[in-house]
Symmetry: C2
Subunit: 511 residues, 2 copies
């Protein structure tokens, strides 16, 4: 058995049965092995950022390990930004990247590059496999990825094509360190104090973990907090009420203002998105005391369970929940508020909301809070261009759920090729493009710097007009039906139609 | 003066007056400084691969240093693949990449990444600047890039916004090592032997250097060779006759078969593009003796001049030249030969030909050999997606010349956003998309592996059909007029029209 076959069988044995790929010549033996195993689903992206972002979205929804197949250093480079977003999401992801046969690396062939260097710069785990150990190294990569890490396996072509390999079973990951009962008791004591808040992230923000957190809040009276950008968070009517921080310092500071005791459970220390000359780097009030119960991306489930027990959760608690509250039907020219209202009103039960609304997010997210219950997937690493790919991966993972992606025009252009994958795979994704013709967030930043009237060069780098992008044509070019709307009424009608038919649709919302 | 202003003034003083950019919030002080200096031309790309590839194309045509402005680790990652192509082209390029203010790096902000790691993996030179030394470090970056290297300057936001900086003059690069007269005499002796060939690359393939090489060939009787992929090579009627290696082993081996003495002057050792289980890594016949006169990307001009003197070039020699020979007018359904014939016949004098024809290149390049004299820019690093960006950069560099880009459909999709920059900047670029609906080069590879009938998974990763891409719609979406053609006659008509009007046009050639 060649190494490529051993790798495919190892992945299948571990339940990794979907791979988002853009292979090349150096991966042809792997392509051949995948071809021999039709139980592996191979989803092609026309650009590697689409593949890595889709693997991220897939893993966010399955809770398992996402997989992507890339071509040499440049393919990895093209996938880097969305691997960064996946890393910041705390998602488990295996990137298999082909390299030249080892003997070929003695020469300066065009595609020879510092593949290990570029891979190491975003991977938590990296291994270059070799003939005979591809199956075993593939299993090690999956084990490394399982706790929510980026694991990169470099597959030299000769390791793929050489005989003498074997698939390997993936053992369970090593047992997690047990929770510290003393620290749990300390946190339990803090959470009943006035001004106490429990900050969560990662897998604590949806499903049974979020329910447990809600019971802890009911039992202790503490607030529940989450970052502004979440890999996956349950929102909408009936979701456990978790407050999220705002994007900007002032807003985040407002949320935290009255927090005297902040207990971090699998969450990072709050930090502002960017630094500014006259602002601190963190929105935390100086008087807030921070206690870290479990580090970010650590074994938060175990700590949460122990905390629930320590505060005396019985299961009978009424967790605080978000109320159903649909906005009024939007009318007239589109605004961000109107987009939020229309999407909130149209959202089906159990939808997945891929959020890359960027500068327009605040009013849209506010409107969505009272919509039907849904899972929201945010841009976790700030590398724009994840909204469309994440929507692809989520839709592949959850074929029985509707995906709605709300994406800024500047962001959408980063990985616009994902539209084609939506069409190819006939995914039930409704894409709403926020067409405000520019990087509006940069306009706002420049205004804040005291330059309300940018000149020619600044406008050249912030405005995406002259010419205007035509997203209806772009969608058509990728095989996706699309419509342009400029009023609240038209957006409501377009959403109703898009959500009533199978397959992808794009709505260009002109603001 | 703040650091951002010092950097802009340093660049302008060094003659670096064009920057291909996609900045973000961390670069806003640099954007403000650029805004205050309208003599700097800022060209926006809607994706960083478009910016780095355009800087590459610009530098290939100016012979100077290309410049690009990127946003943090993810922006650098997005630009990585075309920086790789530029590196393999031996092009001088400065990448300025913004980073968080240094105090902000103590926190795990969403966009914090291993920027130095990803930058180092493709840069020949890397420096993180600091408040007060931005001007001086910018000058050092330009000096580092001048000999044809990738120089990356990391600009922390606080270095950009802090006062107390000053622009710096860029000194000439350090003097090159003198040529070794003994080695030159040795090479001069080799080149008059039967079966001698002089292999060139980089700046030796066009302009006065190519003329000198032609005179050496006339004087000694040696053949002139070049790699298959050239950063810039003069082609067409009247160009010095330089044979290029073929893409595949067998073809390259055929070119080299009778070469007994191979003298490398600024060229790499010949190497096959990929390794295969049953083929050697190099197409060089075992009996060929290789003598390296000057390493790749070394000071080849000096060695070439010394060699010309050593072989007795007087200037009166008649260099071997490529004859004018236009193909017959193509008729009927399109083939690669027909595309080559149509483009060759339509090509205006002094055009720039951006070649990313990939699997269809051989017949197209053959047809182009007898076209009007032109400069050809190839995909030097094998990272697909450089054809459109390189065309952008070349057109910005040479506003009085026509640019024709012939690009495979799979490649075009990697950086399709470049069409928008062509429209925004009203560049005289004619794009011909080779629409064969897939990664045909992978089909050929799989066939060579003995799998002529790929199954579902292999087809899913090699065919770009179901749905077909509509490049006319994609072009329209980016603001570029376009037409679809399927016959030789229609392609000739479309080319004639496109080349008669100002601004960009796209022709989807359905094969």
């Amino acid at each position: 058995m060649d190494g490529a076959t051993a790798l495919v069988r190892t992945f299948l044995a571990a339940g990794v049965d979907t791979v988002f790929a853009n292979p090349g010549t150096s991966e042809m033996h792997l392509v051949a092995a995948l071809d021999d195993h039709p139980d592996m689903r191979c989803v092609l992206a026309l650009f590697e950022g689409g593949a890595t972002g889709a693997a991220d979205g897939h893993a966010r929804m399955t809770g398992g390990v996402g997989a992507t197949l890339l071509h040499l250093g440049p393919g990895f480079g093209n996938g880097w930004a969305n691997l960064h977003n996946a890393k910041k999401a705390g998602v488990g992801l295996v990137a298999v990247v082909g390299d030249h046969a080892r003997r070929h690396l003695a020469y300066d062939a065009p595609l020879k590059a510092d593949l290990e260097g570029v891979a190491r710069s975003v991977s938590d785990w990296l291994r270059v496999t070799a003939p005979g150990s591809v199956g075993a190294d593939g299993a090690a990569a999956i084990r490394a990825a399982l706790p929510g890490r980026i694991a990169t396996l470099v597959l030299p072509a000769d390791a793929a094509w050489s005989d003498g390999d074997a698939p390997a079973g993936t053992m369970a990951p090593p047992p997690e360190a047990p929770v510290d009962a003393g620290r749990v008791a300390l946190a339990a004591g803090l959470l009943v104090r006035p001004g106490a808040a429990l900050m969560l992230d990662g897998r604590m923000l949806y499903g049974e973990a979020a329910e447990t957190a809600g019971r802890i809040a009911a039992r202790t009276g503490c607030r529940l907090l989450a970052p502004h950008f979440c890999a996956r968070i349950r929102r909408g009517a009936g979701a456990v009420a978790i407050e999220t921080l705002a994007y900007r310092h002032a807003g985040a500071r407002e949320v935290l203002e009255d927090v005297a005791e902040l207990v971090l459970l699998g969450a990072r220390h709050p930090v502002n998105f960017f630094a500014y000359p006259d602002l601190p780097s963190t929105p935390l009030p100086p008087a807030t005391r921070v206690t870290e119960l479990c580090p970010w991306n650590g074994p938060a489930e175990a700590w949460l369970a122990a905390l629930a027990e320590a505060v005396g959760v019985t299961g009978a608690e009424e967790a605080p929940r978000m109320p159903a509250r649909l906005p009024e039907a939007p009318g007239g020219p589109l605004t961000a508020e109107a987009v939020g209202a229309a999407v909130a009103r149209a959202l089906p039960e159990e939808a997945i909301f891929a959020n890359e609304a960027i500068s327009l997010a605040a009013p849209i997210l506010a409107a969505m809070e009272g919509a039907a219950a849904h899972d929201r997937l945010d841009l976790t690493g700030g590398a724009i261009g994840d909204g469309l790919p994440v929507a692809v991966g989520a839709a592949v993972a959850c074929p029985d759920r509707r995906v709605v992606a709300v994406v800024g025009d500047g962001s959408a252009m980063y990985t616009i090729q994902s539209l084609w994958t939506m069409a190819r795979e006939r995914l039930d994704v409704t894409v709403v493009i926020l067409a405000n013709r520019g990087y509006r967030i940069l306009r706002a930043e420049m205004e804040a710097m005291g330059k309300p009237e940018p000149g020619r060069n600044a406008r050249a780098m912030m405005d995406v007009a002259e010419p205007e992008l035509d997203f209806v044509a772009l969608a058509k070019g990728h095989g996706v039906d699309a419509v342009r709307v400029a009023t609240g009424e038209a957006l409501e009608a377009a959403l109703a139609e898009a959500l009533a038919v199978p397959g992808p649709r794009l709505i260009e919302a002109v603001l």
